[in-house]
Subunit: 294 residues, 2 copies
């Protein structure tokens, strides 16, 4: 299949390479030409614009920053839609894997639908390691028929691919994922900092709790990294901060209260404000250590 | 061995019965005679006071409410200490399995130490089911030699028994456990309520997230019970509220901030204040549903 990929950063680059290795004709474009370097010795074809990618591909993946970036790549000058005759296409399917607001995904989906273009939101979790090992969790929103069309491609990228519901539902699941991962990370940091400041070995506490009801993948992995004081990303604190901003904006729109998510978002604001934004999100531990206790 | 057990409630009763079944000579006393009924057809010997239990047992377990209850059973009129000649004993070991403040455990340990009485704090997690199935996680604080003495008894009650550190360290680990279980429960409730109020099936969201980094035992078990709307305890909301009060009092004493624990404690205050204190702690979901969203 002719597959386009736009957004060749830490996540997108290994994902695009997996698609090429799976035998698909890969079409890429990047704002910065340096992002195309890893594709020089592959079968991938580099184009001069997103518009050119849209002319050659049947399915185009986008993996960029936030909603304005997605909209620019799709609807902007030399964007994907500008590459289509009359701005319409019964052939093209767009799959946005960026993390954006559910409402933004729905709006994009509606605008594309009016042009005959299929759209799915398919944000991922699992980070750079998941992208490299093709073990991502992919949460998809869209029409079942459109999902079937792209499922073989998504299966190349992740180990768990689930159609959650209509367009936007993938982003809702991703938001739920970010609530759980952010709040649990903060809870593990609070628990281990509490133990240490109480004069008790946090490693022994973690060990005792791992076998019980408090077990989480985050206690296992992030907990160990906190003990090792390994703050290398992983998933950068500023990215988690950005995702929580999206979740809290949605909560505001829906008129919901998310008190733990809000408390955690405040911590991430302070992590970034303390100059740890480029470090892993487990840096929330260092923030808690900084303030209070001996 | 002659083993005493005081505090024959939902947790203590099955635990004491396990000790009798393991072949130990069990000595029990209860404030309310009705609590002794389940022991009528066993080899257990019922006594008229805690003091009498102390006269007959080498190791006495207490599993009561909060610190004042523990102190009453140990130091009160007709309490354990009053049963000892001169209020001292080189023979007796007390093991408190209640959840109380680390500082309270240290104070009790110091007072008992002055009387030659060994003391360990050994709070548990795993709830009534864990007590019945003898699969509790037991977190112990005390001297290594004292721990060795009671380890065979604790092994009868739990599947994971860990000496965390000196007296009080078991309570610190339990506090860390309650931080993690309470905050993660609230986070799962926030995530599933967010999904539902966004118009997305929370069951599909949970399913998609289970395979990824957001996995926790609480997402698996409590998450499913939230979907089933099974609010039967389990672990009662007012008990989690009480445990969080202990944790936050310790944070106050240590001069630490625990923002997520604090946010969750507020939710539990409102759960109890809304008349759901006797229901399971997952009732935090119903509280979030009550306020806001469609």
């Amino acid at each position: 299949m002719n597959v386009g990929f736009i957004g060749l950063g830490l996540m997108g680059r290994p994902m695009a390479l997996h698609l090429a290795e799976a035998g698909h004709a890969l079409h890429v474009w990047a704002r910065r030409p340096s992002s195309l370097a890893p594709f020089r010795d592959t079968t991938a074809r580099a184009h001069v614009s997103a518009a050119e990618v849209a002319r050659h591909a049947d399915v185009v993946f986008t993996m960029v920053g936030d909603a304005p970036d997605v909209e620019e790549v799709i609807f902007g000058a030399d964007g994907l839609v500008s590459g289509l005759a009359g701005g319409v296409s019964p052939r093209l399917t767009l799959v946005d894997m960026s993390t954006i607001a559910p409402a933004a995904a729905q709006e994009i989906g509606a605008k594309l639908g009016a042009r005959g273009i299929r759209f799915l939101d398919a944000p991922v979790s699992g980070g750079e390691v998941g992208a490299i090992n093709a073990t991502l969790t992919i949460m998809v929103g869209g029409e079942p028929a459109d999902f079937e069309l792209v499922q073989p491609l998504l299966a190349v990228l992740g180990k768990s691919v689930t159609l959650i519901g209509p367009i936007g539902a993938g982003q809702v699941a991703k938001a739920a994922n970010q609530i759980l991962t952010a709040v649990t990370t903060a809870a593990v940091a609070e628990a281990l900092n509490f133990a240490r400041k109480s004069g008790v070995d946090p490693g022994r506490v973690r060990e005792a709790l791992m076998g019980g009801f408090a077990y989480s993948k985050i206690l296992e992995n992030h907990g160990q990294r906190m003990l090792d004081r390994n703050f290398k990303p992983g998933f950068k604190a500023w990215m988690h901060q950005k995702d929580l901003r999206i979740v809290l904006a949605e909560a505001h729109r829906l008129g919901l209260m998310l008190p733990n998510t809000a408390a955690t978002a405040q911590l991430f604001n302070a992590v970034v404000g303390s100059g740890m934004g480029e470090d892993d999100s487990i840096s929330v531990l260092r923030l808690l250590e900084k303030v209070g206790g001996e």
